[in-house]
């Protein structure tokens, strides 16, 4: 049982670090040599990205030094970079981390330099990540890089066995299918809700025709649409259509057939192909079942320039190269991550593959979670409240009333 390093100690260390750095003659620029760019790429391996930028280095004579940051360390790295002023020039920012990065002032405003770079024009990217949705008014703090979304995964073999043809297209159908599939017997379920999935209730709210932010930009869950989404979410539990065990493994559950339908991202497809190649042909993906709409979560990553970088010109040049449809497609071939640029998404390389075709189709009907630092704690509170009701049998009205109160308090 190692002790948790005292939060205070960590902060003190961070403060001292920044103090020492300031003492040694101001904040060290990220890199002073204008022909060298330091890039942080998220993931375990930077070599594919190095391959991707080889052509860029050839044509521009700008060297790119790539650091791969494992996803688990992203938050720490960002915190240290902000506290010390010592970071990369260009960094990949997962959209879930974007509010933190924006709020912390970690990103440079690119508005004035971006116009000279045609690939970075707003209309080149998917509508879900239009600049006004990503940035505080009047600023351009990051540009889209790769996209990711949620689709419905279903087991074609099991559905056919139960006499269900094709994937469910509406909420009613989803529940109807799930009820039928759950009746297969003990330990068999109709659907699966990941208990850690905070975007899911938000996604249901969008589908019910609402939003989780009000007109003034404040997060507000006290709406009829959220209520409808919550009721829908909870009905899967009250009708015993989903597993209640928090350690239920979605990949195993899908492969074994215990949970033959679920909403997940392309990473699940990769996991299934790796862990159960023999399942090929027995499962498929479909656009999300819709209520008023079939809106899905838009996930993915952006690229931004670190606010302390002295190499903004060269950095934006690199961003422009990376937003080129050809580069975007090359990255898909290298690493399997979907483009965020419209022109690249319509390429036959992507649309020729049935699974990817569905992702691409869903991406045109996808939406960002609120880009505000308030969302993360509120999303967790929302999830906790719904789980309290679903798993512990808490009083729904009282729990939701408390949730609305908390949401208000957190935004004071």
């Amino acid at each position: 049982m190692t002790r948790l390093p005292k939060v205070g100690a960590a902060i003190a260390a961070a403060l001292m670090m920044s103090a020492t750095l300031t003492a040694c003659g101001g904040n060290e620029p990220a890199s002073t040599d204008s022909s060298m760019l330091k890039v942080w790429i998220m993931g375990d391996d930077g070599s594919k990205f190095e391959q991707l930028v080889e052509d860029f280095t050839k044509s521009s004579k700008i060297e790119v030094d790539v650091d791969a940051i494992p996803w688990d360390n992203v938050h720490e790295k960002l915190t240290t970079a902000v506290a010390s002023g010592n970071g990369p020039d260009v960094m990949q920012i997962g959209l879930s981390h974007l509010p933190t990065a924006v709020d912390a002032g970690a990103l440079a405003d690119l508005t004035s330099v971006i116009n000279a770079h045609p690939n970075l024009a707003a209309d080149k990217f998917l509508d879900a990540v239009a600049p006004d949705k990503l940035n505080p008014a009047g600023k351009t703090l990051s540009v889209p890089w790769i996209s990711d979304t949620r689709v419905l995964f279903y087991r074609t073999d099991i559905l056919t066995e139960q006499g269900l043809s094709g994937p469910p297209a509406t909420w009613e159908q989803l529940r109807e299918y799930a009820t039928k599939l759950a009746a297969r017997g003990k330990g068999q379920y109709g659907y699966y809700i990941p208990q850690w999935d905070a975007p899911l209730p938000a996604q249901f709210t969008w589908q019910a025709g609402g939003d989780v932010v009000d007109a003034s930009g404040k997060i507000n869950l006290n709406t009829p649409e959220f209520k409808r989404a919550a009721d829908f979410y909870l009905s899967f539990y009250s009708d015993k259509l989903v597993p209640t065990a928090s350690d239920f493994d979605q990949t195993q559950g899908f492969i074994s057939g215990a949970a033959p339908m679920l909403i997940s991202g392309p990473y699940l497809a990769t996991a299934i192909k790796e862990q159960a190649p023999e399942l090929a042909g027995k499962w498929a993906v479909a656009p999300l079942p819709s209520d008023k709409t079939g809106t899905a979560l838009y996930a993915g990553s952006n690229l931004g320039v670190f606010s302390k970088s002295t190499n903004i010109e060269a950095s934006v040049k690199l961003l422009n190269y990376l937003a080129d449809p050809a580069t975007q497609l090359r990255w898909y071939t290298l690493n399997g991550e979907l483009p965020a640029v419209k022109a690249a998404l319509n390429d036959p390389t992507l649309t020729g593959e049935p699974t990817v075709k569905v992702y691409v189709q869903q991406l045109t009907n996808a939406k960002l979670l609120p880009v505000t630092a308030a969302w993360d704690p509120i999303g967790q509170k929302m999830l906790a409240a719904l789980n309290e009701i679903a798993l512990k049998g808490a009083n729904p009205d009282a729990t939701l009333a408390k949730l609305h109160q908390d949401v208000n308090d957190l935004q004071k």
Binding site: T79, A106, S246
Partner: protein, 319 residues
């Protein structure tokens, strides 16, 4: 600390005694500094890594420091005791505090009694087999927590875990080891007990070695049985070891973090969120450094109070 200064003092005085009176004066001035030189490094470490961080945390706890504040100190505001007010009004804080209490009640007695019992059993023989067993008990203490959590996670998984599989063979229904709010507390505590016992067993074994054999012989001559010898000779003579293990275990469990963090992430529905995990979530997930510092200071005060009470109780029992 309190005990080392007189000890060091006494040592220098002894060294100074044989010297002549004139030389002694000069040397004693130097001698007066010697103890401080000895405690200096330890004291410096304590100040830099113990006291200063606590003071900084105390300072931070009355501000609204967040990630933005780290980069731009102008954004940090003094907000007085607001963080503490919010903390004491937060249901999750109290539930985390309650969970920590339950973990302590479940784990600490089991660790102390269990490790003592195992240590006494192991000390019965010094054959190769028993030494091998000692190594076996110590293994969890030197294994990386990530590996431990992975293995236990697989063992305890409700869906495809080995334990449930074995239970299934003898016709027992699957047990929701990690997914039932009450059961998860037991599972997490079990893993922590398993992991922490090894070190305490070794401490008890070392202490057992220092008990002279003659005491047991004398007790045997007086007609004491094995059980009587344990109660009347072993346990009283291990008093200091037991006290040490109690204090360190209690402090460790008040800061209980690793096992719930890696096994359940504090779930299901917050039922295994300990106070340290709560602080971690607030500080490093939501970047509420000020608020998290307030919570960590409250935890510090609790640990300080509990340890002070224990030290006082020990002094009283000695008098």
């Amino acid at each position: 600390m309190i005990e080392t200064i007189p000890a060091a003092d006494a040592a220098t005085h002894r060294a100074a005694q044989p010297a002549s009176a004139a030389a002694a004066r000069g040397r004693s001035r130097r001698g007066a500094l010697t103890p401080y030189l000895f405690v200096g490094p330890a004291f410096a470490l304590l100040v830099v890594f113990g006291i200063v961080p606590i003071l900084v945390a105390a300072g931070v706890s009355v501000t609204d420091l967040d990630l933005r504040g780290l980069g731009d100190t102008d954004a940090v505001r003094f907000i007085g005791l607001d963080n503490y007010r919010r903390l004491f009004g937060d249901g999750e804080f109290w539930s985390a505090l309650g969970n920590t209490g339950i973990f302590i009640a479940l784990g600490v007695p089991v660790i102390i009694v269990g490790s003592l019992a195992v240590a006494i059993a192991l000390s019965q023989s010094s054959s190769r087999f028993f030494r091998l067993l000692t190594g076996f008990y110590f293994l969890p203490a030197i294994t990386a927590i990530v590996a431990i959590s992975l293995i236990w996670g697989y063992l305890l998984n409700g869906q495809f875990g080995l334990i449930n599989y074995v239970l299934g063979l003898i016709g027992v229904d699957p047990v929701p080891w990690l997914s039932d709010p009450m059961m998860a507390k037991f599972s997490v505590a079990l893993v922590a007990v398993w992991r922490a016992s090894g070190l305490n067993i070794v401490i008890f074994l070392a202490a057992l070695q220092s008990i002279p054999k003659e005491y047991y012989e004398a007790a045997s001559l007086d007609g004491a049985g094995e059980w009587r010898k344990i109660i009347s000779v072993t346990v009283p003579l291990l008093r200091f070891a037991i006290f040490f293990v109690t204090v360190t275990t209690l402090i460790g469990w008040m800061q209980f973090f690793d096992e719930p963090y890696v096994l359940t992430r504090g779930g299901p529905t917050g039922s295994t969120t300990s106070i340290s995990l709560y602080i971690y979530q607030q500080g490093f997930q939501f970047n509420e450094f000020g608020f998290a510092s307030a919570a960590s200071l409250v935890l510090f005060v609790i640990i300080f109070a509990v340890t002070a009470i224990q030290l006082r109780a020990r002094r009283l029992s000695h008098d």
